[in-house]
């Protein structure tokens, strides 16, 4: 059995990235994710890697752009206000079909907001974050173990589909400590014939660009990119289903709120309420089919979020509004309690009693 070590969520991301073959990290200090940079600053020089504290989040994401274009695994991490600054770079990465791993350990917003945990960047992450038609693969860990395993998975998916994979975590999971196994399979190596490695006078020059002045050509590229996105939607959806077999109420939650919700579901089951939980692990692609299927048999949904209700729109879309969806939330850095979620479950079940 794999040996477990006690780690902070942020450190687990950093170590898992190294295990996944990432040797280039660029970042800029911002709470509550700075442990990732600190860990990389310590480790990278010891293993022949590069840690560079950039002059800004904008510079950091563009350094990522350069390393990725050179064909190497690369990452950056930040928190909400910093991710907004990276938005331009995220769009360029997508427009040039470059793989990268970007971590957002979310804090309350908008603006400078606060430094306590939040899930208010759901729209920004699942809709791409920058300008233009594109998606990122968005992974939502709910434990320190998943901070590690989804980081490894994220690098693989990024290379496989030439996309940015984003770890959408929150300050709670970033800061909390749990036992984690870092046993990782050797990273799969993807051929990158498009990479800028120098022609070595042996091939025609490679060009990495997101500029296509002919509208016909740009349209074609957008359509091809979305065909690739459809393959991702077909093959890469991940979610956890908990006590859904006979559920009449379906709680939907991801990340830290999924853990809170799981406690509430267990407590409600003890009271005889038939309730289950669907926890999206990929927020894009969203587990639409699982929710559509659930909508055929549950009476209602609860969307538990640390935002003013963002994921709830995806639930309504996935279920074509067949069943009512109620928002259960706290915002601004506040976290819903199991009692709050339990009370919402009881209220949803109340009509039958």
């Amino acid at each position: 059995m794999a040996e477990k070590v006690l780690m902070k969520g942020n450190e687990a991301i950093a170590e898992a990235a190294i295990q996944a073959g990432c040797r280039h990290y660029f970042g800029y200090p911002i709470t509550p994710q700075t442990e990732i940079a600190a860990y990389m600053a310590k480790r990278m020089p010891k293993i022949g890697g590069v840690f560079l504290q950039a002059e800004s989040e904008i510079a950091a994401i563009n350094m990522v752009y350069g390393v990725s274009a050179a064909g190497k695994r690369v990452m950056t991490s930040s928190s909400s206000p910093g991710i907004s600054l990276k938005g331009e770079g995220l769009s360029y990465l997508a427009g040039s079909d470059l793989p990268a791993l970007v971590v957002n350990v979310q804090r309350g917003g908008p603006g400078l907001g606060g430094i306590q945990p939040s899930q208010a960047d759901y729209f920004q992450a699942t809709r791409g974050g920058g300008h233009g038609d594109y998606h990122m693969i968005v992974l939502a860990p709910a434990s320190v173990q998943e901070m590690a395993s989804l980081t490894v998975k994220g690098f693989d998916l990024a290379d496989k589909y030439r996309m940015t994979a984003m770890i959408l975590a929150d300050g709670t999971i970033g800061q909390m400590m749990e036992p984690v196994s870092l046993e990782v399979e050797p990273p799969k190596v993807y051929e990158k014939p498009w990479a800028l490695t120098g022609t070595k006078m042996a091939r025609k020059h490679n060009i990495v660009t997101s500029l296509f002045l002919q509208p016909e050509a740009l349209e074609k590229l957008n359509i091809e990119r979305y065909a690739r996105y459809r393959i991702v939607e077909e093959n890469e959806v991940m979610y956890e289903s908990f006590q859904m077999e006979d559920a009449e109420i379906c709680v939907v939650a991801y990340g830290i709120t999924a853990r809170v919700s799981k406690n509430a579901v267990t407590a409600a089951r003890a009271k005889g309420i038939r309730v289950g939980l669907i926890r999206p692990i990929t927020l894009w692609p969203f587990p639409k089919a699982a929710l559509a299927e659930a909508a055929t048999r549950v009476k209602s949904f609860l969307s538990v979020e640390m935002s003013m209700g963002q994921m709830i729109e995806d639930i309504e879309l996935a279920t074509r509004c067949k069943k009512p969806v109620t928002l259960v939330n706290r915002v601004g850095g506040m976290i819903p309690t199991p009692e709050q979620v339990l009370s919402a479950i009881e209220q949803a079940a109340g009509g039958d009693r």
Partner: protein, 248 residues
């Protein structure tokens, strides 16, 4: 006998530059330097946003197109990924000295072992002639129709002078391409800026005073003269920093 031919580092693609524009000369000088050093197979160029955005079609080595102003950061990534490769950015004044000033200053401060070719023509060319951070006091542009008013817009930025205050950079020089003599000096400076990188010496930036007849509203001849009469007095030519010369 062949007396002149296209450098290996240039493709046969015709450029889109306006008549009288000096980008073509500067492209050629860069290509000749890469050819001379024999590093075409391991050179990667970073194109900016601006008139030279399509430079990636004209250079025969690997090329990447960066977001506006971000070329030094992209170049940093490429260099850190493969330090043995020769990485340069080719940027205009709006790209380098306005929106990308932070990236420029910090790449210089880190003495990042890259080369920057900074084309200063005192105007935004691609977007049709707006005021640049290097537009001269009183210069009429689309966004300074009554002439650059220094009480409102401040004075133009002298990039070489400013960067020369930093400990970091290896080589900073300003040249022009408006006469045979100046082109010959520019050729030597550009070659040195690349040689420095090959020898691992660090950040080298060549500022090239360049003409824009279209947006200055001049004939090509008048534009070359304007570089002498108006630009060079504000932007004196010369070497602003050369660490290895000092040590020698």
């Amino acid at each position: 006998m062949i007396v002149a031919k296209r450098p290996n580092s240039l493709t046969a693609t015709p450029t889109h530059y306006c008549p009288g524009c000096t980008h073509g000369i500067i492209h050629r000088l860069v290509a000749e330097a890469i050819d001379t050093l024999g590093v075409e197979g391991r050179t990667i160029g970073v194109a900016p946003v601006g008139c030279s955005v399509l430079a990636y079609n004209y250079f025969a080595f690997d090329m990447i197109e960066a977001a506006h102003g971000r070329a030094p950061a992209v170049a940093t990534g490429l260099k850190r990924a493969e330090p043995g490769n020769i990485i340069f950015s080719y940027q205009g004044d709006g790209d380098l000295a306005s929106i990308g000033m932070a990236e420029t200053v910090h790449a210089a401060a880190r003495n990042e072992n890259i080369t920057i070719i900074f084309v200063n023509n005192a105007i935004y060319g691609m977007t049709g002639g707006q005021m640049a951070p290097t537009s001269l006091p009183g210069q009429v542009t689309q966004t300074s129709p009554y002439g650059r008013d220094v009480t409102q817009c401040g004075y133009p930025i002298r990039v070489c002078e400013m960067l020369s205050q930093l400990e970091g950079p290896e080589y900073l020089t300003r040249v022009a391409v408006n006469s045979v003599k100046n082109v010959n000096t520019a050729k030597k400076a550009i070659e040195k800026a690349f040689r420095n990188q090959v020898e691992g010496k660090g950040f080298s930036l060549v500022e090239v005073l360049s003409g824009c007849p279209t947006n200055w509203g001049m004939t090509p001849q008048a534009a070359l003269q304007w570089i002498d009469d108006a630009m060079i007095p504000y932007y004196p030519l010369g070497v602003y920093k050369d660490r290895s010369a000092k040590e020698a």
